[in-house]
């Protein structure tokens, strides 16, 4: 397998970052005493360990090629949808519709992405699945809270499956004068996830004014401004791996980080409504899969659309 030098730099950069984070985690564990800060550091180290795992899986999928990436995101969608539906009260009448959502609609969506058929994967869930779900539930014969139940399943499919599938769909874009869409995907994933990480770091170190106290008490104005600013800077510095010039890379990074922030905020509102802190316990320190990809869900379709509109 040949890996071009740019990809090698990107992977090397992530590896260096993970090593640095691990080192800092170790030092903080030694330095900080007191119960409260010990707890924060233990959570931080759990997060860093999970990052190693996630980066290894992601790198492996990218190296396997487009199919590996599609399968990885299909599994991600599956786990996210499972958490979303678990948190959403469903009735017995939804059982068959949910079976379709998990085992038929989800695989078809990723099959369409793998087939690179934009005409189909861009409308399959918003049109066909959207219409099918209420029909299937109506056939089950339970009309109690019908609109509410249907809407929740449709929402789950849109957020956890449709939006997430736009990430591997980046590989299908044909950008004139640019090859190696894996690097574009890498750029997107790095900016969206580092924006989360940087908002966390800025928030923990100098966050004071809560930005949405009723929805997400940990999000602060300082964390938002510092995190978005530094993530945009990082994205700009990665311009050489993308089809963008530095200014375009900055604008794209800003769009990704803002959408990511809105995604985190919206998915938090659902958690607050259901009275839970996390969507699950799948990823130690992070919570569930949905907690990790909430920002990606909102950023992926917008980033895809912007690139497709302006660069292909």
């Amino acid at each position: 397998m040949t890996v071009d030098p740019q990809t090698r730099w990107l992977f090397g950069g992530v590896l260096a970052l993970l090593c640095l984070a691990t080192l800092i985690g170790r030092v903080l564990k030694k330095r900080l005493t007191g119960e409260a800060s010990q707890k924060v550091v233990a959570n931080l180290n759990a997060r860093i360990n999970a990052w190693w795992m996630m980066c290894a899986v992601f790198a492996f999928a990218l190296l396997v090629g487009p199919i590996g990436t599609v399968v990885l995101f299909a599994l991600t969608s599956f786990l996210a949808l499972r958490e979303f539906i678990t948190l959403t009260p469903s009735k017995r009448g939804d059982h068959r519709a949910l079976f379709w959502a998990f085992f038929i609609i989800l695989p078809i969506q990723y099959f369409l992405v793998a087939r690179q058929s934009y005409a189909w994967f861009s409308i399959f869930i918003p049109v066909y699945a959207f219409l099918f779900i209420p029909v299937r539930s109506a056939m089950a014969g339970d009309s109690e809270r019908f609109l509410e139940r249907t809407a929740k399943i449709q929402w789950g499919l849109m957020v956890c499956v449709y939006f997430v599938s736009y990430t591997p769909a980046l590989l299908t874009l044909k950008i004139p004068g640019y090859t190696g869409n894996a690097k574009l995907l890498f750029f997107f994933a790095t900016v969206v996830q580092m924006s989360d990480v940087l908002q966390y770091i800025w928030g923990k170190s100098c966050g004071k004014r809560p930005i949405a106290p009723h929805i997400s008490p940990n999000k602060t104005v300082e964390g938002f401004v510092g995190g978005v600013g530094s993530a945009v800077l990082l994205g700009t510095l990665l311009w050489w791996a993308t089809p963008f010039n530095p200014w375009q890379a900055a604008a794209m990074s800003l769009a990704i980080t803002l959408m990511g922030f809105f995604g985190g905020l919206t998915m938090s509102a659902i958690k607050r409504d259901r009275g839970v802190k996390d969507y699950g316990q799948l990823l130690p320190g992070h919570g569930g899969m949905m907690d990790r990809i909430d920002s990606l869900c909102f950023a992926a379709p917008v980033f895809f659309h912007l690139v497709r509109t302006f660069f292909t």
Binding site: T86, R92, F99
Partner: protein, 200 residues
């Protein structure tokens, strides 16, 4: 081997997590009693136990259900090593307590569902008296309350195809029959112990 594969599949599908709240997974003789909402209940409870304990733990199941087809007989006998008891035509000759006591005498642990049947609503039904008679016959055995959360959504009564929903299996503090404790008091205490796990 096949049993372990079953257990792994059940855990992966439901993302089930064992929560040892009131006791630790120790290799000692126990009777696990749980709420019953789905045909998969005992599979998941069984799967949530560490392998060494699982090998010494047998689910108690309905004779009429598990002898209906060859596949069920093979599953009950070879994979889950179920203790099959009569629940429809109970006579002096097929006292359901006898096979359970025989298994316990062999040093094995049991999984029982004291409601006797699946609850449709997910609410915990009244306990039948079998668990009391078992406790009376085995006063030194620890009875562990277990709450299985969400499994009724994975496979509701009347459905054949399961859907993936995140489940959890919570193990409570061991309880013993108190000297002189009446039947109704014990059944109430046991039922309350399962309900209390729901809240945690």
């Amino acid at each position: 081997m096949i049993g372990n594969a079953f257990a792994l599949a059940a855990r992966l599908f439901t993302g089930a997590q064992a929560r040892w709240i009131g006791c630790a997974p120790e290799p000692r003789q126990r009777v696990f009693f749980a709420n019953h909402t789905s045909n998969l209940d005992f599979v998941l409870l069984w799967a949530a136990l560490p392998r060494t304990i699982r090998q010494k733990t047998r689910p108690v199941a309905a004779h009429d259900y598990w002898t209906k087809s060859r596949i069920r007989i093979a599953l009950a006998d070879k994979i889950f090593r179920a203790v099959l008891i009569e629940r429809k035509r109970v006579t002096r000759g097929n006292n359901p307590l006898a096979p359970m006591l025989a298994a316990l005498a062999h040093g094995e642990s049991l999984i029982i569902f004291p409601e006797g049947g699946r609850s449709l609503t997910g609410e915990l039904g009244a306990f039948k008296s079998g668990i009391f008679h078992l406790a009376k016959a085995q006063p030194a055995t620890e009875f562990i309350p277990v709450f299985i959360d969400n499994l009724n959504r994975v496979l509701p009564k009347g459905e054949v195809l399961p859907i993936p929903i995140v489940c959890s299996v919570s193990f409570g503090a061991p309880m013993l029959l108190q000297p002189g404790e009446e039947k109704l008091a014990f059944l109430q205490r046991a039922r309350d112990a399962v309900i209390a796990l729901h809240a945690t």
